[in-house]
């Protein structure tokens, strides 16, 4: 039985590190992740909001600005758990009933990004990004 598990961390810069030093590196990585997590930026006001209940998502189409990282809030007002999922946005999060969760998306190019409730796939919606805003010019 291994008394001291040697953990290899997934860092890119590890190729020259000797096996015996993996464990501290892994510990450091976890500590770093935690530090980042605790230092997560405070909640911004008037963040875009999507609610979900027995009727589905509201709004069905959410307009977002292009070229910007956006903080989305998903609010489950129903009595069943929902899983907000989008292959287009590469996002996936469970929203228990009565809970709000945060999902950062973008910066997005103009386009239509569909999402759905993985626990009830008849519930669908989309994020629509239009390249009409002045911000878009700053983004290439």
């Amino acid at each position: 039985m291994p008394s001291r598990p040697v953990a290899a961390a997934p860092s890119r810069s590890l190729s020259r590190v000797r096996p015996s030093s993996f464990a501290p590196v892994a510990a450091a990585l976890i500590a770093l992740t935690l530090a980042f997590a605790l230092a997560a930026p405070a909640r911004a006001d008037n963040a875009p909001l999507i609610t979900v209940d027995a009727q589905g998502f509201q709004p069905k189409e959410l307009a977002l600005p292009p070229g910007k990282k956006v903080k989305l809030t998903i609010d489950n007002k129903g009595h069943l758990p929902a899983e907000f999922e989008s292959y287009d946005l590469s996002r996936e999060v469970v929203v228990p009933p009565g809970s709000k969760v945060t999902v950062y998306v973008g910066p997005l190019k103009a386009g239509r990004y569909e999402f759905f409730n993985d626990f009830n796939q008849s519930m669908r919606g989309a994020v629509v990004v239009k390249a009409t805003e002045a911000d878009a010019q700053g983004d290439q």
Partner: protein
């Protein structure tokens, strides 16, 4: 009922496939059955705990608690799979030789048993928590809840069966090639899990996207399709990847390969007897 079965099947499939690959790849390592079973058991406990605390978890860390926990679990699995593959790079040949001669278990070196436990625990906890949350919700609801619960359990069973089939399939690979095949499987699986972790950290706002939707292959192979989903689980296929996901995928692939080459080159026999 069928809809519930399909949902549960997809939640369970990922865990089942990972456990199957890990079981295959650890063939011949003494005690692996107990450690994998322990990982599955602990994983079920962890899944129930996470489902129970889902509401608290969802609102923790500014609404990012779940994504951060998922990333942490995935990165732990990545670390353990790396260890397993690196260990195998120096022991695989010996294992294959002893398996073909006596079929007996090999007791040599510092076996990566804890890695088996952590990886199966991580897989079962992460996917299982969603399955448990969903099953609880429908079981608690009135009306059709009984048939839905039965459908859900059927979906779970079907996921386990597919995992079992993969395991049986792996065992049919000739011993000569067996461990190199499982090494590659684990390597790609690890890179895919690392990319998923990067996605969660980006979702939580902790890592930059470095470009969203670098390319889009969803018209060729949709991630919603069965093949797309299988490839997503097994080799980390993402139809519209972000830069950070690509970076983690390639970075992990290169790092693990380099470590395997580095360790695999050393003569293993002497190091073993010293270690145990």
């Amino acid at each position: 009922m069928l809809a519930t079965a399909v949902i549960l099947f997809r939640e369970v499939l990922e865990a089942a496939l990972i456990v199957a690959i890990v079981l295959g790849a650890s063939r011949g390592i003494a005690g692996r059955g107990r450690w994998v079973a322990g990982g599955v058991g602990l994983g079920l406990v962890g899944a129930s705990l996470i489902a129970l605390l889902a509401a608290d978890l969802a609102s923790s860390l500014g609404g990012n608690g779940q994504a951060i926990l998922n990333a942490g679990i995935l990165l732990a699995a990545v670390a353990m799979l790396t260890w397993h593959n690196v260990w195998m790079s120096s022991h695989g040949r010996k294992l294959a030789a002893e398996l073909s001669s006596v079929g007996a278990d090999v007791q040599t070196g510092k076996r990566p048993l804890a890695a088996l436990l952590v990886v199966t625990f991580a897989a079962v906890t992460r996917e299982g928590s969603e399955a448990v949350l969903f099953l609880w919700a429908i079981a608690a609801g009135g009306g059709q809840s009984l048939s839905m619960t039965i459908g859900g359990l059927g979906g779970v069973a079907a996921g386990v069966v597919v995992g079992l089939l993969l395991y049986r399939g792996l065992l049919r690979i000739p011993l000569r090639h067996f461990f190199s095949v499982t090494s590659w499987l684990i390597l790609l699986l690890t890179a895919g899990l690392a990319a998923q972790a990067a996605g969660y950290l980006n979702q939580a706002g902790l890592l930059p996207a470095l470009g969203t939707g670098l390319w889009d292959t969803s018209h060729l192979l949709s991630q919603a399709s069965i093949v797309g989903q299988l490839l997503h689980i097994l080799v980390g296929y993402i139809a519209r990847p972000s830069g950070i996901q690509l970076l983690f995928y390639v970075g992990t692939l290169v790092t693990v390969l380099a470590l395997m080459r580095l360790v695999g080159r050393r003569p293993p026999a002497r190091a073993d007897s010293a270690a145990s």
